[in-house]
Symmetry: C2
Subunit: 360 residues, 2 copies
């Protein structure tokens, strides 16, 4: 029996996607083999990858001035690729620190020999809000941010418009959950496993005029231009991971009907859950500041760690899984990624009310 999956990532995938993948496992598209056994240079796989790119372009409304590539190594490899390509040794770059992942990205830029600087941080506030006052370095080659903080449950409600350089954003845990105006962005990326597919592929979209400024004296597999030039096939790409992400893109376009619709459903899901938290007379307590609340990761606590644990355990036995907070902060977290249905959220909210009656 399928459970209600609130995992923070890897997270829930659409049932239709899994059903199609299972159905085509032994013989994908009449090739007589699974997609994993097909050559990545076969006309069928090349056409599949082209279609994945086209669907993503349509969803994000990207023009030809944007390139789309598939990398590996998750967000953590992007943490290195970004300064290596765009700042270089001693090069300046600005970071907006909204929590664990932004901090890691900032530190990695230093490891890579660049000269990162914090343009803003909410560390003093325990990362419970997204900063909105920035001290930009005019020499920065880019301004880096994490648009949704999976750990603390915060999300950018708007983006800086006065940055001195292109914005580069890790959108992993909110990718394709809402339309985003990309006017001030140079590059956005997402590790697939939060909202679109299996861990093992990172979707990267970047403006070609930014890519043209990338340094060329870098290892081939870390070079953005090398991915662009070779349509992500300098070597064998993670075909299965791209394929599943592509099925999710199709689901978003055909079944959901695009990002406006997805955002509307995600808003209902988040409003339902935050409503239950805020209406619990303080029994459930949201940990992110209301103005910075994430629609993807809802973090909350009960009165005391024992109750947190009891809640998590009893929820699990009711088929509500993945509700533990990130191991760095504890507490509870319900991730409401695109594929998490409204029925799952309704079930959670019912359980919360019932749990409060018994333990409040």
């Amino acid at each position: 029996m399928r459970v209600a999956n609130f995992n923070g990532g890897p997270g829930s995938l659409p049932v239709e996607v899994l059903e199609e993948a299972a159905r085509d496992m032994m013989d994908w598209h009449g090739t007589g083999m699974s997609i994993m056994e097909n050559s990545h240079r076969s006309k069928e796989v090349v056409a599949m990858v082209d279609e994945v790119v086209a669907d993503l372009r349509a969803l994000l409304n990207l023009g030809e001035d944007w390139a789309v590539i598939f990398c590996q190594g998750g967000a953590s490899l992007q943490f290195a690729m970004i300064p290596i390509n765009f700042a270089g040794p001693g090069g300046h770059c600005d970071y907006i620190n909204t929590g664990l992942w932004a901090t890691r990205a900032y530190k990695e830029a230093r490891i890579c020999g660049s000269n990162p600087r914090l343009a803003a941080t909410s560390e003093d506030d325990d990362f419970t809000h997204i900063p909105d006052v920035f001290d930009f370095n005019p020499e920065a080659k880019y301004v880096y941010l994490t648009s949704n903080n999976t750990v603390r449950g915060t999300q950018c409600q708007h983006f800086p418009t006065n940055a001195p350089a292109p914005l580069i954003a890790d959108m992993s845990s909110e990718f394709l959950s809402r339309p985003v105006n990309l006017e001030h962005f140079g590059l956005i990326y997402a590790g697939a496993q939060k909202n679109v597919g299996p861990a093992g592929v990172t979707v990267v979209a970047m403006r070609r005029d930014l890519a043209d400024k990338a340094r060329l004296d870098v290892p081939t597999m870390l070079s953005y231009p090398s991915y662009i030039k070779n349509d992500s096939m300098y070597n064998t790409p993670p075909v299965w991971n791209i394929y599943i992400s592509g099925l999710t893109f199709k689901w978003l376009r055909r079944t959901v009907g695009g990002l406006e619709n997805m955002a509307a459903t995600n808003k209902i899901k988040a409003d339902t859950l935050y409503g239950a938290i805020d209406g619990s007379s303080g029994f459930y307590r949201g940990t992110a500041r209301p103005g910075s609340r994430s629609s993807m990761n809802v973090t909350f606590r009960l009165p005391g760690e024992d109750l947190d644990k009891k809640f998590k355990k009893e929820a699990q036995s009711e088929g509500l899984v993945g509700l533990g907070g990130h191991r760095s902060v504890g507490g509870l977290r319900a991730s409401l990624y695109n594929a998490v249905g409204r029925d799952s959220v309704d079930k959670l909210v019912e359980f919360m009310a019932e749990f409060q009656r018994r333990n409040g």
Copy 2:
């Protein structure tokens, strides 16, 4: 209908593996979700990864002085990680050049700022044999080789025993196809998509005393010690790709009965095909020198490119697919990876005889 799959990579996978993956797609191991939707830090996934490592250790007969990790980025990222970790800026390292992939590894070491040198090359002979005379640099930090050349169809029949430093080998296209004496090796690795699983995971085994010598001033996702310290979970690993590779390891242990058995079957397959080539009175011509012939990738040509094309096309329509040579050399190639059954080879040999009757 399943075809006979002679793809050079991604290549054939065992039918049992695909069947199990399809069966468990909606509900893996009673978790109520697919393995792609499980948290990588759940006890179920951690146990799965531990088991994959244990099965690999058993297959390769690795002691505790060896570490096993899972990377991403294919062999091409290893081309960079190896010099970055073990040679560093200006550091010496030796390469045995057996063809395209070894050449790329050598060039990448230079891009990474190290000082690679060719200890041997068969380039003058068009890479149709594996060199066996070496001019080692006593200052080399390691000696790099590609144990099986997928493009030219050559394979090391033995390995250097007098190298001044640990051997590091790309074994991608012959991984787990035969037992290998690892006495002189410091590190071996394989992109999964040739012989064990889907593209998107690279299996790396290395001696811990070599790992202890790795440089520490490198980006986290390029640092071998960081993978070892975190059991390959510094960030989210490619869970699906590891899972499928693990199912193949189990198939190798349980169904095949280990690497001795696998090697015996692979020898029969290769002998059958080379026998057909050598017995064709010159109609089919093997392109690798007999003493260097690969049991994994059998490269051959017919009298003329037109016949090559005709052969490939007619074979395809008989359900014998993936017989085109690597795009850099053309001709024909039958890859006989572990999961390619003897029935597929028999079918190919029959077709070859029949094709020769009609066109010889």
